[in-house]
Symmetry: C3
Subunit: 215 residues, 3 copies
């Protein structure tokens, strides 16, 4: 009970950031849909799949039911509205790029932590928690890119997925060292956020594998 209370603050923080993450992920989905000239239905579906898809795949893997989108279908209003707002403000999007990247980085780290916690709450160990965290963090964007018929950005771009992995392992490591959530959550959020922002700013990449058939 006491432990739960002392976790309250970071959980509230996580919830606020999780909602932010849903909104930002929806907006990246809307932008991707717009790049492929979809109609407003396509925009809303791609946005919602981007926002909820990582969690859905995680829950499928964990055998967890009901999923968030079924337990709280009203969240679709949130993601649909976020997508339509992005359609309206898209012309200003290039000016908001860094605000957007910052929120996206927070969302990525939040989703990763939330996914790992979900697996832990079900009694799984660090291996499954890692799978759950990374899946939650990056598979929404992977589904978005599959629906938009392009190679997933997470497989090619600046440390996107690596930040997810690093965040999950930092969080799990801090917890194993006995850190309370009031410490492990904000520390992970801060370090994950800065790692991602530095990676974008300096175009850090992990090595690429290039293979040509019939070499």
């Amino acid at each position: 009970m006491l432990r739960y209370e002392c976790k309250m603050d970071p959980l509230v923080l996580l919830t606020v950031l999780f909602i932010t993450g849903l909104i930002v992920e929806s907006m990246t989905g809307a932008i991707a849909a717009g790049e492929h000239k979809m109609d407003l239905f396509g925009v809303i579906v791609v946005a919602s799949v981007t926002a909820f898809g990582g969690g859905v795949i995680r829950d499928i893997l964990l055998g967890k039911s009901p999923m968030l989108i079924i337990a709280k279908p009203e969240l679709l209003f949130l993601t649909s509205s976020a997508a339509l707002v992005m359609v309206l403000i898209a012309r200003y999007f290039s000016k908001l790029k860094w605000l957007f990247l910052g929120l996206d980085a927070l969302g990525l780290v939040t989703f990763s932590i939330v996914g790992a916690i979900r697996a832990q709450d079900m009694g799984f160990g660090p291996g499954v928690a890692s799978i759950a965290g990374i899946t939650t963090g990056v598979f929404g964007g992977i589904l978005r890119d599959v629906l938009c018929n392009r190679i997933p950005l997470a497989f090619q771009k600046e440390l996107y997925a690596s930040v997810s992995i690093a965040s999950v392992w930092l969080y799990l490591g801090l917890e194993r060292l006995g850190a309370p959530a009031s410490l492990s959550v904000p520390v992970t959020l801060a370090l994950g956020f800065f790692l991602r922002m530095l990676a974008v700013k300096y175009d850090w990449r992990i090595p690429t594998f290039v293979y040509k058939a019939n070499s």
Copy 2:
């Protein structure tokens, strides 16, 4: 009991139309596979995924088990046969276009209603029933297009998905108003069908979002 009996007729109608929908969806899958030069195995898989895929994704989201394809695997003979028949008659396909579009429209509305009913039977409210209906109606075609490596048509074409949404909401609305299934099912089928046919004939579209990066 009485209510069930008075629902019998529309349920028989729905079942007949559902089978029709499976056949027509398989055929659209076969055509898409042929446009991408697949072999007959690919034709059968894409056709079956198109026919059953929407229901499978709905059942995954709802946590419903067993799925239709597992409860009645013999239905694969139906979808495989429909796919192979389409291969044989493909040369006449352009002449049958309107017959095909009509059956496809009926299938779309039927799948949408059936999906919503499935969620209601599990005790879910109108929000989840909407998700279930739309998923059943359009995600088979979305999976078909992903397997064929193209942008899903449902995100770009004439009101396809909008007809699914409108049908689900009309059906749920009529039911909330107290209409028996013997009224709500045929009315929804008729209106959904005409909306879709008019949309195809007059090329109605909902607004498109076009976004260019680096604008």
Copy 3:
């Protein structure tokens, strides 16, 4: 009990071949990722999805829980390592082509048999066992190709999927005739393997369906 003991040998054989299959499937995933210039994270994810994806989709369809990847997350070290080894030896890959094709053929037949057995163990009949076997055999590669944004090879190439179907039906047929697993497993492995190798060597294909819109 006696039956289980007499099945031990083929089960050990299947397990060894299953592990081999995971490794080889990971390596085909790594090659596909390299053909699309992915970074090492993308290589590992595509490799792992290729190795585990068929089984995951089968377990989703069957409603089976927990999935292998959740029950034994440490297997991810195996698939990740196999992927990274492939990155290191890719320059020699063309010289190892036939070794690789042979192991891949064994993996395909093994996955197909294992999938069918999984469904049988759950009490399903031959229809569902066929679906489970084929899904396990070919859907890992289909997911790999979807993530790499290309038409699934299994829909176009030399009998890949047909070998999976033939293996499942041969295995189920031998079992129905009363053959013990010590006979049905090695016979299916041998015949499936040779069918696949002959198909590759002589470029056997099943008929292709080519459809042009607006013909």
